[in-house]
């Protein structure tokens, strides 16, 4: 017998069907199972990247350091399919069913509670996506007894430009990494991301600065070599200011975490003055330069620097006390807690707010839209000073999961209570009838 359903109808049936939901839930169960076991060996950060990252399309789990003969899809993409399935099947299809009924009671009987709970779980999934894409996360290092309000974003390498004439305290203009990532020059043998297309160069203009900055080559990991002492190879960058950049393979996040290595980003810049009588100047910059590379245009000197992005927080954190518990007879940390003071100044520089907080693993500090998680602790080898590192998160969907769980719980409670009352009533009718 010929199937009368059209192609879109068949697609709708598959995408919104129970089968997809069940497959997604089984896959998520496996992903959580394997990633939880792997986390004990590889660490939370590495496992999060391997299983839950946007770029983790597929993952092969590891058990006791050995690869399991099983390929799982990345959790991000399974969640995308599951959310779509939940919205189409659990919300749209149920909505049609429920809203066909006219009275509220019949709507409840048809599954209004289930519909709301499906909607709230879809909302929970969406809040996860909002967190993943929109949360602003940075690291704040505070020495014990010290105060800091400057956080850094380690994986966001930016170019900073400022007027350094007479060493004045001028602000920096920041070229964010999002404008530079398609200028990456991949080293020989490196795999380029899917759908990635290289841009040749990009120009940047800054308010009140008489030049255009052109970025032509952006290297994620370089060796900076002295041109007077090293021979340039064919794949090396051009020689500028007696230096050149040698592109090397960038370390992955996993390598950086496990092998304690870091990437050293570098770039070639060209400063093109608006005054065409002044010759354009080529510069080479790289991370770890203490002071900016300078260019003089007219009577002003401009500094160019490459650095990890710094965030000036609207508050400061003072680390009053740091408590580190270690395993007996070992230097390995068991737990650590930070006693901090949140300090906020008003526009006159007077202290407007001073609140004490306690932060430890799984007990972050939440205040005025910011959440501070205890990330790690350490000791400065030179000063022997202990410090605490906090992840500072500004997340628009921070409380969304809580709300969705409340709504889901209430909706299911209403549904189950209704079903219970119906059951009891019917049983009583049967017994009396």
């Amino acid at each position: 017998m010929k199937n009368s359903k059209s192609w879109p109808q068949k697609l709708w049936r598959v995408v919104s069907g129970f089968e997809v939901a069940i497959i997604c839930m089984i896959l998520l169960l496996l992903i959580v199972f394997f990633s939880t076991l792997e986390q004990a060996e590889e660490g939370l950060y590495v496992v999060t990247k391997r299983y839950y990252d946007l770029e983790a399309y597929f993952v092969q789990p590891k058990l006791n350091g050995k690869l399991v003969p099983l390929i799982l899809p990345g959790a991000y993409w399974v969640c995308c399919v599951f959310t779509l399935n939940l919205i189409l099947g659990g919300v749209f299809r149920l909505m049609k069913l429920v809203y066909n009924e006219m009275s509220f009671e019949k709507r409840i009987a048809r599954g209004l509670g289930v519909l709301i709970s499906h909607g709230s779980i879809a909302f929970l999934m969406i809040s996860g996506a909002v967190t993943y894409h929109l949360k602003e996360s940075s690291l704040l290092l505070v020495p014990e007894g010290g105060t800091s309000g400057v956080a850094t974003i380690p994986d966001n390498v930016v170019i900073e430009v400022r007027d350094v004439t007479d060493n004045q305290d001028s602000p920096s203009h920041v070229v964010d990494n999002k404008y530079l990532e398609d200028l990456i020059v991949y080293a020989k043998g490196e795999v380029q991301p899917l759908f990635w297309k290289k841009a040749d160069k990009r120009q940047f203009r800054f308010p009140d600065m008489p030049f255009t900055l052109e970025v032509e080559g952006w290297y994620r990991n370089v060796r900076v070599l002295d041109a007077t002492r090293n021979m340039r190879e064919e794949t090396d960058g051009p020689e500028v200011n007696k230096m050149f950049l040698r592109n090397t393979r960038a370390y992955t996040d996993t390598e950086m975490m496990q092998e304690n290595v870091t990437n050293l980003a570098g770039a070639y810049l060209k400063v093109i003055p608006d005054d065409k009588s002044i010759v354009a100047q080529d510069l080479v910059v790289w991370q770890q330069l203490n002071d900016p590379v300078s260019v003089t245009i007219g009577e002003r000197v401009y500094g160019f620097k490459m650095d990890t992005k710094k965030i000036l927080l609207p508050f400061e954190i003072k680390l009053d006390r740091l408590v580190i518990d270690k395993y007996e007879g070992s230097e390995r940390q068991k737990a650590f807690q930070s006693y901090v003071t949140y300090i906020k100044e008003d526009s006159d520089g007077e202290t407007a707010e001073k609140i004490k907080f306690f932060i430890e693993m799984n007990e972050p500090m939440r205040h005025k839209g910011y959440t501070l998680f205890q990330t790690s602790v350490g000791t400065n080898s030179q000063t022997n000073e202990s410090y605490s590192v906090f992840e500072v998160v500004k997340n628009p969907s921070d409380q969304w999961p809580k709300y969705s769980i409340y709504v889901c719980g209430i909706a299911l409670l209403v549904h189950f209570l209704y079903k219970l009352i119906m059951f009891v009533n019917q049983s009583m009718k049967k017994n009396h009838g």
Binding site: S6, W7, P8, Q9, L11, W12, F92, R93, K96, Y99, V150, E160, V161, R162, N167, D169, S170, P171, S172, H173, V174, V175, Y179, D182, F195, A199, K201, R202, Q203, F204, R205, F206, P207, T212, R223, V224, L225, D226, R229, N230, N241, K242, M243, Q281, L283, V284, W286, Q288, L289, N290, D291, V293, S294, V295, T296, E299, V301, G303, K310, L312
Partner: protein, 201 residues
């Protein structure tokens, strides 16, 4: 019929009226979404993000002539050279500041040796120039540098700071070095010994 709380009937009629098969319509829609999401970035960007000045931004306070361009001070890689400051000027000119060990006479004679000039026996044979709160040994030499660079010049200043030797050295073509002699002396006069010493340590 696609079950939906929103009526898709008008849209369905429009799509049906086009006479294009649904599979082609879906493919066209997905392609359009993909192309929109892969929009090319601007080739010229107006930068609006500004970060306030922080204590980390504070640079060493020096007198720096406009024609000197500050470049990377520390060059990592195979040949590691540690310099606290490094400027370039003209075609060949370079001036840098570094910390070194030893004694003043030994370092001054080492510099002269780079021009194949006989060493001097005491510091009194060198000129001295004023620096903030003190004096520095001044070395000036012209000739062939490092056996290969002819018509080359060098200006150098050496001073003892808290057990270390601060060395300021200028190299380049003779004409370029001579033209920067006054700027060199001014730079040495205004150097901030406290800042250099503490930063290096």
């Amino acid at each position: 019929m696609i079950p939906s709380p929103i009526s898709l009937a008008p849209l369905s009629r429009c799509l049906y009226a086009t006479g294009v098969r649904p599979v082609v319509q879906l493919f066209a829609l997905l392609t359009a979404v993909f192309l929109v999401s892969c929009g090319k970035k601007e080739s010229v960007v107006e930068v609006s993000e500004v970060r306030a000045f922080m204590s980390d931004d504070e640079m060493l306070k020096f007198y720096v002539p406009l024609e000197w361009k500050q470049t990377g001070a520390t060059i990592p890689g195979m040949a590691m050279r540690t310099r606290r400051l490094n400027y370039q000027f003209g075609e060949t000119g370079e001036i840098y500041l570094s910390l070194t060990k030893g004694d003043l006479l030994g370092n001054a004679n080492r510099w002269l040796g780079q021009f194949e000039v006989d060493p001097k026996t005491n510091l009194g044979e060198f000129e001295s120039i004023p620096v903030l709160e003190s004096k520095a040994v001044f070395v000036e030499q012209y000739g062939t540098y490092d056996k290969t660079k002819k018509d080359w010049g060098m200006l150098g200043a050496l001073m003892m700071v808290e057990g270390d030797i601060v060395a300021i050295k200028m190299l380049g073509k003779t004409s370029e070095v001579k033209a920067q002699k006054e700027n060199f002396k001014k730079f040495c006069l205004h150097y901030n010994k406290y800042k250099v010493a503490t930063d290096e340590k």
